[in-house]
Amino acid sequence: MIANGKTPEDIEALLPWHAAGTLSRRDAERVETALAADQELARRFALVREELAETIRLNEMLGAPSARAGEKLFAALDAQPPRRSKIAIGARISEFLAGLGPRTLAWSAAVAALAIVLQAGALTSLILLYQRSDLDQASYRSVNYRTASAPASSQAGVHVLIRFAPDASAADITKLLDGYKASVVDGPKPGGLYRLRLPVGKDELARVVGEMQGNRLVGFVAAE
């Protein structure tokens, strides 16, 4: 045995992966240490590198597929029915839950509840951040000038009620809110609902809500 817990044979067996650069950092360090201390192992590693180079060359000689492969694939994709709807996914989730034992189901429910609590916590932080941001902007405006094109009021826009998908992370939600330049003004309300302000006109509201309804991060959304 050698000091790092691997026999010389173990180390030698790892040489091909070391040459390919696919070892974990820890194993790579072990191999490097052994190579530095063992000339015969270093010589064998040179053989491995030759094998690697010629294997790559041999594979590259096999050429590439013609355009026919891609054409066939994309023609087949065009002929495919639309992907399953959310309802179908819901049905599959129901089937999955029906297959779980009571104990597993209880644990799953506990984990889901915890996820909702964590998401609520993350969203509360977001609300505080957004409110803080509004306050900062307001104080900035109070000590600075306002341009003629600045919005008449920070409260301009429309409001929607939204519930995020249970698996939506705080990062996902931040990205979604930023995408719509939306801010959370209230929540969580009963049912995990939040009130968002969107900086759009009433004429655009239906389009934006429709767009949000198609977003996987959104469980429910409606104009207020």
Partner: protein
């Protein structure tokens, strides 16, 4: 899907071609592989690299296609036929081209040995990923690679190249 296909089609094609030994069949199979991936996208758990998932599907489809045709998986004869315009190892020795001898000897390995060598060296798969693609335990991956390299050394010796290992 276009991005995924553009990024992985060549490597998947080469992997499949090694198994089926026919370019047209390999092209048909890679279309099927990517179509399967599109249809099963919601089953991808993200625990492994997409390329590992693709190669596992590709391997299954290629071996099934070979079995359907009642053929054996790419044997020595078929492997040699892919590029039989090139010199055999003995002729290559006369030309003193060690790289070419090595490539010829790689082609003479059994399908199992060639597969593990390709996955490790060309497809840059870790021990765990090879195990996932080939459906064998991780320790078997290591021993298979060891025996593949040992066989390669024997073939090189027969071709007049003495490496001092094994």
């Amino acid at each position: 899907m276009q991005v995924l296909f553009a990024r992985h089609q060549v490597k998947v094609y080469r992997f499949v071609l090694r198994i089926v030994g026919n370019a047209a069949a390999a092209e048909d199979l890679i279309s099927e592989v990517f179509l399967d991936v599109w249809q099963q996208a919601d089953r991808f758990e993200g625990r492994s690299a997409v390329s590992t998932w693709l190669l596992a599907i590709a391997r299954f489809k290629a071996l099934s296609a070979v079995r359907r045709k009642g053929e054996v998986a790419l044997d020595d004869e078929t492997a040699a036929a892919i590029e039989d315009d090139r010199d055999d190892p003995e002729v290559a020795v006369q030309k003193k081209d060690k790289g070419e001898i090595l490539r010829k000897c790689l082609e003479r390995l059994s399908p199992e040995h060639r597969e593990v060598i390709d996955l490790v060296y060309y497809h840059e798969k870790s021990v765990e990923e090879v195990a996932e693609i080939v459906h064998i335990p991780e320790n078997t991956v290591k021993t298979r690679m060891f025996y593949a390299r040992r066989k390669l050394g024997e073939l090189l010796k027969q071709a007049g190249v003495e490496r001092g290992w094994p």
